[in-house]
C-alpha cells in the first residue's frame, strides 16, 4: 500500500490507512476521498528556491517532470559536487508521482540541497529517490520541505550503502495538510557511517511525519540520529524511527534521540522509536522525550528582561539549533538557521 501505487493504478484502495502499522499516525485513505486529475505540464515561477544560489547546479522537477539535467545526480569516481534538487508542485487540485535515482561512484562526494515547494493548494505528490553510495562515497542530504498548507505529500528515499560510505541527512519541515518524509537505509556496517537528523516546526493544523528505518546487516556500523520537533496550535508531529541490527551485525553502535516540545494544549506528538536487535555484541540506545518548554528557563529569561514571547522563541530556536548545527555544508546550515528563525512557532 503506497501513494505511488494508488496514483499509478488510480486506485484509492491502494492508499495506506491507519490500519497499516507503519501509517497508523498518517492516514491517507481516510483523508483522500478521490484521486485528483494528473498534474499537467506547467511553467511555474521557479525563480529562486529556498536554497537560493547555494551550490553550482540545479535539477528542477515541476509537477513530476524533470526539467533540469538529471545527469547531475550521477557522480563519477572522486567527483565532488553541490546540487540543488527542487520538487515544485505548481498546479492546484492535481496529483503526480516522480522517481529519481542518485548514484555516487567510489570516493564521490555530493551535497544534495533538496527542496519541496508547494505553490498551489490541494495537490497530491509522491516523490521517490533511490540512492546508491559506493565505497568511500559521501552524501550529505539537506531537505527543506516547504509544502503548501493544503498539500499532501509523501517523499521516500531508499538509500543503499557500500562499506565505508558516509551518508548524512537533515530533514527540515513545517508540515502540510498531510506530509510524510521517509528514509530507508540499508547499512552494510563495515565502517559505513550514517547520520539521520530531522527537525519539524509545526503550527496551525499542519501535519508532518518523519519516518526512518535503518537496517544494519554487517559488523562495525554506526548510526547516529537526532530528531527534534516543536508543535504549536493544533499541529501534529509524528516520528517513527526504526533501527534493526541483523544477526551477525556485531559491534554496531546505534543511537537514536527524539525530543519534542508541545506549545499548546491541542498540539499532538506521536512517536515510535524502535530497536530491533538480533545480535548480542551491540550498543544500542534510544531516548525520547515529549514535554512543554522548561518553565525555569523561561522564568530565568524573563527575569533578565526578555519578554515572554521572545524568551519562548529563543528557547525553541536553541532547542532546534542543536539539529541545525550538525549540518556540515556551511551555506545550507545558514539557510536552515534562517528557516528555523522565520518559523519560530513560539
Amino acid at each position: 500500500m503506497t501513494l505511488s501505487l494508488a496514483l499509478e493504478a488510480r486506485d484509492l484502495s491502494q492508499l495506506p490507512s491507519r490500519r497499516d502499522e507503519d501509517w497508523r499516525w498518517t492516514d491517507l485513505r481516510g483523508l483522500i476521498r478521490e484521486l485528483p486529475a494528473p498534474s499537467p505540464e506547467a511553467t511555474a515561477d521557479v525563480s529562486a528556491g529556498p536554497f537560493g544560489t547555494e551550490g553550482e547546479a540545479e535539477l528542477l522537477v515541476v509537477n513530476g517532470r524533470v526539467c533540469g539535467d538529471a545527469g547531475l545526480l550521477v557522480l563519477r569516481e572522486g567527483e565532488a559536487r553541490v546540487v540543488r534538487l527542487r520538487f515544485v508542485s505548481a498546479t492546484a487540485a492535481t496529483g503526480h508521482g516522480v522517481k529519481l535515482a542518485v548514484s555516487l561512484a567510489p570516493g564521490a562526494h555530493l551535497t544534495l540541497l533538496e527542496s519541496y515547494e508547494g505553490q498551489a493548494p490541494d495537490y497530491l505528490v509522491d516523490a521517490a529517490l533511490n540512492v546508491r553510495l559506493e565505497t568511500g562515497a559521501r552524501l550529505e542530504r539537506v531537505v527543506l520541505a516547504g509544502d503548501h498548507a493544503e498539500g499532501v505529500s509523501v517523499s521516500t528515499a531508499s538509500v543503499s550503502l557500500a562499506p565505508g560510505a558516509d551518508f548524512a541527512q537533515t530533514v527540515l519541515t513545517d508540515g502540510a495538510r498531510r506530509q510524510r518524509l521517509e528514509t530507508r537505509v540499508e547499512h552494510p556496517g563495515e565502517s559505513a557511517v550514517v547520520r539521520m537528523d530531522g527537525a519539524y516546526l509545526i503550527a496551525d493544523r499542519r501535519h508532518a511525519d518523519l519516518t526512518t528505518a535503518v537496517n544494519h546487516s554487517g559488523t562495525d556500523g554506526t548510526t547516529d540520529q537526532l530528531v527534534k520537533g516543536v508543535v504549536a496550535d493544533q499541529g501534529r508531529g509524528v516520528f517513527q524511527g526504526r533501527i534493526t541490527v541483523s544477526p551477525g551485525a556485531d559491534r554496531t553502535d546505534a543511537r537514536m534521540g527524539h525530543h519534542a516540545l508541545l506549545l499548546s494544549d491541542r498540539a499532538e506528538v506521536n512517536a515510535k522509536p524502535e530497536l530491533l536487535i538480533f545480535a548480542d555484541d551491540v550498543a544500542c540506545a534510544h531516548g525520547n522525550t515529549v514535554g512543554a518548554l522548561d518553565e525555569d528557563a523561561l522564568f530565568y529569561a524573563q527575569q533578565r528582561g526578555i519578554p515572554e514571547a521572545e524568551a519562548r522563541a529563543m528557547l525553541t530556536e536553541a532547542f532546534i539549533g542543536e539539529v541545525i548545527d550538525r549540518i556540515v555544508h556551511n551555506g545550507a546550515r545558514e539557510v536552515a538557521r534562517a528557516w528555523a528563525a522565520k518559523r519560530r512557532v513560539g
Binding site: 544477526p247 512517536a271 530497536l275 530491533l276 551491540v282 544500542c284 540506545a285 525520547n288 515529549v290 514535554g291
Partner: protein, 489 residues
C-alpha cells in the same frame, strides 16, 4: 547480599522445568470444539443465571465476526479453535466445598507446587511469616479458596468467579466487562464467551485487606485451554495486594491460555497486582509444546488519587502476548508497571504495558527489563498516551534489554502519543549484552560462568524484584536462575 546468595544456592537444585508433572485425576470434559452449545454447556455447568449466559452468547457472536490479530512479533502455526476442550474439571461437585471433599490428588498437586491450601499449614509456618489466602484454579474450576471466613470478617469478598456470579450478582453485573469490554480484542472476546473460572475480589471502602490474596492457576488436562477471568474491585480508600501464579504440565502440544483480568480502583484506592508467570515454555531444543499465553489485563483507575501497580515476572510460556495496562481516569491517579521478561530456548515474548492518561495530574512509571537467551525473541511493546484533558500528566519509562548469546533477539517498540502541551513524557531504552569485563571479574572471584551470569542478571533486574512482595521475590529469583539455565557455555 542474601538475595544473591539465595540464587547461587538454588542453582545447584535446578531442574529444567520443575512443574511439568501431570496429575491423574478423574476429569469431566465438555465435547471438543467451540459452538454456541458449548457456551451454553459451560454456563449450565456453572449454574449461571440467564443474564450471564446472554452475555456469553453475545460475546461468542462477536468473536465469530472478528479476525485473529497478527501484529505482534511472534509467530506460531494457526490455532485450530475447534481442536480444543473449552471445559475440563475434576469430577467433583461444583461450588464451594471444604478441603476434605477435594480430590486428594489435587491437594497433592498443590502441595508439590508448594501452594498451601490448608489454612493451618500456612499458620504452621514460621512465626510472623505473612499469611496469604489462596484461590486454587485447576483447569476450568476453582477447587478451593482459603481464609474466606477471616476475610469476610473485615468485609473482603474473595471467592471463585462462578461463586461471585451466584452470590454477588449485583457486583459482578456492575463491574464485569467495564474495564475490558467483551469485544475489546479477539482473545478477550473468546474469553468472554467461554471463561470458566477465576477469582473475584471486592474490598469495601476504607478496608486494607489484612493479607495477601493469591490465585494459583494450574492447567492439567491435555488438549484444553484455560480461560479464566479475574475481577478485583478496590472501593474508596481500600487497599489490596494480589498475587498470581501459574504452571502447567510438560506436553508436546500447545495449549492456549487466554485470560482476562479487570481491576477497578475507586477514589484513593490501591491495588498491587503481582504475577509470577511460569507456564511450561516448551522444549528448549525443538520448541515443541508449551503454553500460548494471550492475556488481556487492564486496570481502570476510576477514582481520584487511586493507584494500580503491576509487577510481573515472565519466565514461562512458549509465547507470551500481553500488556497489563492502566487507564488513568481519576484525577492524580497513578499507574506503575514493573516487569522482568525472560526468554530462553525457543520462547517468544511480546509484552509491555499501556498507560493511558485521561485525567489531570496523572502519573505513570514503567520499568521493564527484558532478558533474551538461547534462540528466543523478546519484545517490549508499550504505549503511553495523554488525552488533551490530561493536563500535567507525567510518565517515565525505562526499558533495558540484555542479550545472552548470538542467536537471540531483543526488540523495543514504544508508542508515545502526547495530545496536550502540559504533559511530560520521558522514555529511555538500552540494549546491551552481558559485559565481558563484569563476567571476568565475577568469575575471577571464584564463581562458575553460570553463577556469574545469574549474579549479573539479578543485578540487572533488581529494580523490579524489589517491587515484588517478599514471598514472591524469593520465588522470582529462583525462577530467573532456572530460566537462564543452559544459556551460556
Amino acid at each position: 547480599m542474601p538475595a544473591v546468595k539465595k540464587t547461587v544456592d538454588s542453582v545447584e537444585a535446578l531442574e529444567r522445568y520443575q512443574h511439568g508433572f501431570i496429575t491423574t485425576v478423574d476429569q469431566e470434559f465438555a465435547p471438543k470444539g467451540l459452538s454456541a452449545d458449548i457456551v451454553r454447556f459451560i454456563s449450565a455447568k456453572k449454574q449461571e443465571p440467564e443474564w450471564m449466559l446472554e452475555w456469553r452468547l453475545a460475546a461468542y457472536e462477536r468473536w465469530l465476526a472478528m479476525d485473529e490479530p497478527d501484529w505482534a512479533k511472534v509467530s506460531f502455526p494457526k490455532i485450530d479453535y475447534q481442536d480444543s476442550y473449552y471445559y475440563a474439571a475434576p469430577k467433583e461437585k461444583i461450588g464451594p466445598m471444604s478441603l476434605d471433599e477435594v480430590d486428594p490428588e489435587i491437594l497433592a498437586t498443590y502441595a508439590k507446587l508448594g501452594i498451601p491450601l490448608r489454612e493451618q499449614e500456612v499458620l504452621a509456618g514460621v512465626q510472623g511469616a505473612p499469611k496469604y489466602a489462596v484461590d486454587a484454579v485447576f483447569d476450568s474450576v476453582s477447587v478451593v479458596t482459603t481464609f474466606k471466613k477471616e476475610l469476610a470478617a473485615v468485609g473482603v469478598i474473595f471467592c471463585s468467579f462462578s461463586e461471585a456470579v451466584r452470590e454477588h450478582p449485583e457486583l459482578v453485573k456492575k463491574y464485569l466487562g467495564t474495564v475490558v469490554p467483551a469485544s475489546d480484542n479477539y482473545f478477550a472476546c473468546l474469553n468472554s464467551a467461554v471463561f470458566s473460572d477465576g477469582s473475584f475480589v471486592y474490598v469495601p471502602p476504607g478496608v486494607r485487606c489484612p493479607m495477601e490474596l493469591s490465585t494459583y492457576f494450574r492447567i492439567n488436562a491435555a488438549e484444553s485451554g484455560q480461560f479464566e477471568r479475574t475481577l478485583i474491585i478496590a472501593d474508596k480508600g481500600a487497599y489490596v495486594s494480589y498475587l498470581e501464579g501459574c504452571t502447567a504440565p510438560m506436553r508436546d502440544e500447545n495449549q492456549l491460555h487466554a485470560a482476562v483480568v479487570e481491576l477497578v480502583t475507586l477514589d484513593d484506592a490501591e491495588i498491587k497486582y503481582s504475577t509470577v508467570q511460569n507456564w511450561y515454555p516448551g522444549d528448549p531444543e525443538t520448541g515443541k509444546g508449551g503454553i500460548y499465553n494471550f492475556v488481556t489485563k487492564r486496570a481502570d483507575c476510576r477514582g481520584d488519587r487511586s493507584k494500580v501497580s503491576w509487577t510481573q515476572v515472565e519466565t514461562g510460556s512458549a509465547i507470551t502476548w500481553k500488556y497489563p495496562s492502566c487507564v488513568l481516569r481519576g484525577k492524580d491517579s497513578v499507574g506503575e508497571f514493573y516487569s522482568i521478561a525472560i526468554t530462553n530456548g525457543r520462547q517468544q515474548a511480546d509484552t509491555g504495558t499501556k498507560m493511558i492518561h485521561l485525567g489531570e495530574g496523572t502519573r505513570s512509571r514503567i520499568i521493564s527489563k527484558g532478558i533474551s537467551a538461547g534462540r528466543s525473541s523478546n519484545t517490549y511493546r508499550g504505549l503511553v498516551s495523554a488525552h488533551p484533558k490530561a493536563k500535567g500528566a507525567r510518565n517515565f519509562t525505562q526499558c533495558d534489554s540484555l542479550l545472552i548469546g548470538k542467536t537471540c533477539a531483543a526488540h523495543t517498540v514504544p508508542y508515545i502519543e502526547a495530545r496536550n502541551g502540559q504533559s511530560v513524557f520521558e522514555h529511555e531504552a538500552t540494549t546491551t549484552r552481558l559485559s565481558d569485563d563484569q563476567l571476568f571479574y565475577v568469575m575471577q572471584r571464584g564463581l562458575s560462568q553460570e553463577e556469574a551470569v545469574q549474579l549479573l542478571v539479578n543485578g540487572f533486574v533488581k529494580d523490579v524484584l524489589q517491587e515484588l512482595p517478599m514471598e514472591f521475590a524469593v520465588e522470582a529469583q529462583k525462577l530467573v536462575a532456572i530460566s537462564l539455565e543452559g544459556s551460556v557455555g
